[in-house]
């Protein structure tokens, strides 16, 4: 199939088929027609010797078109398809339908049937008498799962493992509650604010993207772009306005504090990477427990204070095991979700 991309063969074949696929064929193409021409797009996306030679020859033959070609290339490189995304609730519903269809069917005894009828009656009664308790949507991720979802206003949220987000079904207010860690890319709106609530901390957003994490009583917010106002439960406030601005809140310790950090260290989990910058081993173990559901057994607790830096690709479990073995100079084995570290 390789000869498809070779204009030389192409030219000869097309001549025999009485079609004009020479460089002259494109002489009257406008810039936007180029942007819809497969052979032009092929060259932009998958350049090789053959198609590069073809388009260089075109520019040489039609030097007055050089500017158009350059511009079309620049535009084509950033061109993307507008993709529609399903609503998270919809996707759930479809999955439930699939599950219903594939789940193994068992023979049910009369007793169980009676129990089921009773249960249905109970649920019905509850649904009639409850007062608006089920008007919330909650989406949660499993350990180690990075999950993307779209809010009703098209804001994007990426959940880290073992995290959840909830919001009101009515969506009267752009307001969500977060437990665990999430990265937000908020759809800009001049008229409607956006609020993120977490343990002891509220984030007021002004069209922006940022990371929020709450684990073990500490909540942190790291700004990626735009501006956010962070308000702690003790009424202290902090404005984050530059990328990398971080707000940390701990009720037990120092309250609300600010500092400046490298953004990617706090957002690389979205690519399933663990990025560590002078993090104590104990801190890394906490992340492995909180986000990935691992339990770590370590005999020698003096290792816990050791500080480490680097990046671990979590997509491959073996990479993590090898990295731990090297960092801790230890023998690392795994039993289920427990990682056992035996120092050499």
């Amino acid at each position: 199939m390789g000869h498809f991309l070779c204009p030389f063969v192409f030219y000869i074949r097309n001549t025999t088929l009485n079609m004009q696929h020479s460089i002259h064929h494109y002489s009257n193409y406008t810039m936007h027609q180029l942007l819809a021409a497969p052979y032009f797009l092929e060259w932009v996306r998958f350049p090789d010797a053959a198609n590069s030679a073809f388009w260089e020859a075109f520019v040489q033959a039609y030097p007055q078109r050089a500017a158009d070609i350059t511009k079309a290339v620049a535009i084509a490189k950033t061109m993307y398809v507008v993709n529609e995304k399903p609503q998270p609730g919809e996707s759930r519903a479809v999955w439930n339908e699939i599950y219903k269809e594939i789940k193994p069917v068992r023979r049910i005894s009369i007793l169980w049937k009676a129990a089921a009828v009773f249960l249905v009656a109970m649920v019905a009664a509850w649904m009639i008498f409850r007062t608006n308790t089920n008007n919330r949507i909650e989406v949660a991720s499993r350990f180690g799962e990075v999950k993307k979802l779209l809010l009703p206003d098209s804001s994007e949220v990426t959940l880290n493992g073992n995290s959840s987000i909830s919001y009101s079904k009515e969506w009267n207010k752009r307001e969500v509650w977060i437990d665990g860690e999430a990265f937000f890319n908020i759809r800009h709106s001049d008229t409607r604010g956006f609020e993120v609530h977490s343990t002891g901390l509220d984030v007021n957003v002004l069209g922006t993207s940022f990371n929020i994490r709450n684990r073990r009583g500490i909540t942190s917010v790291v700004l990626n772009s735009g501006k956010v106002l962070v308000a702690a439960e003790d009424n202290k406030k902090l404005l984050l306005s530059k990328p990398g601005d971080m707000a940390l809140y701990s009720k037990k310790e120092n309250g609300l504090t600010g500092k400046h950090v490298p953004v990617d260290h706090y957002t690389s989990w979205q690519q399933q990477k663990l990025q560590l910058d002078q993090v104590p081993v104990s801190g890394m173990f906490e992340m492995l427990e909180d986000d990935w559901g691992y339990h770590i057994q370590l005999r020698d607790s003096s290792l816990l204070k050791k500080k480490i830096s680097g990046e671990i690709d979590m997509k491959d479990k073996q990479v993590l095991m090898d990295a731990l073995a090297i960092i801790l100079n230890a023998n690392v084995t795994q039993q289920g979700s427990t990682i056992i570290v035996t120092p050499n």
């Binding site: 819809a36 052979y39 996306r45 535009i75 507008v82 699939i98 594939i102 993307k148």
Partner: protein
Amino acid sequence: MSSEQSLWDGLKKGDVQSLEALYTQYNELLYGYGKKFTTDTHLVQDAIQETFISLWKYRNTINAGGTFNYYLLKSFRNQLLRLIKERANTTYTDENNEFSFEVGFDNHIIAGEEYALLSRQVKNALEQLTARQREIIYFRFFEGLSFEEIAGIMDMQVRATYKLTARALAALKEIMDGSLLLLFIVSHLS
């Protein structure tokens, strides 16, 4: 998170969680692709549902040759076109299928009125193509699939071989240069 291969293995062993993980991973891609054929969200969701149910049913007989991406797109396309056909109650011809999409650009290069104008012009240029040609562009340029994969998904060998007649050569005039169909006819002639 498990790699694609281990999800595949899990599925073959009958693990429902693997199927769910695959669903979570691919349902957005299929949805976005399906909506380019029809605006009917229910139809698209039905096709996704059927695709995963048949993936489960035939998990033991599916040949894992090729990527998941490829397998799912091919299966989903068949399901969706069948549903569209059923609904329209017409005979299935590829020419009836719509396939359209809008493109956006990085607005650092162009902005404002020029952006709107360009969007419109490119849209017009794309509308001049056939649905199949737009689909090929979508797969090749935006999804980065290989020609072998695209041909497989769109069932093109069969068609290209079938059309390898004088009639096909006449029809070629209408097909823009560089399209995949031409490629097949050319390679069959050589």
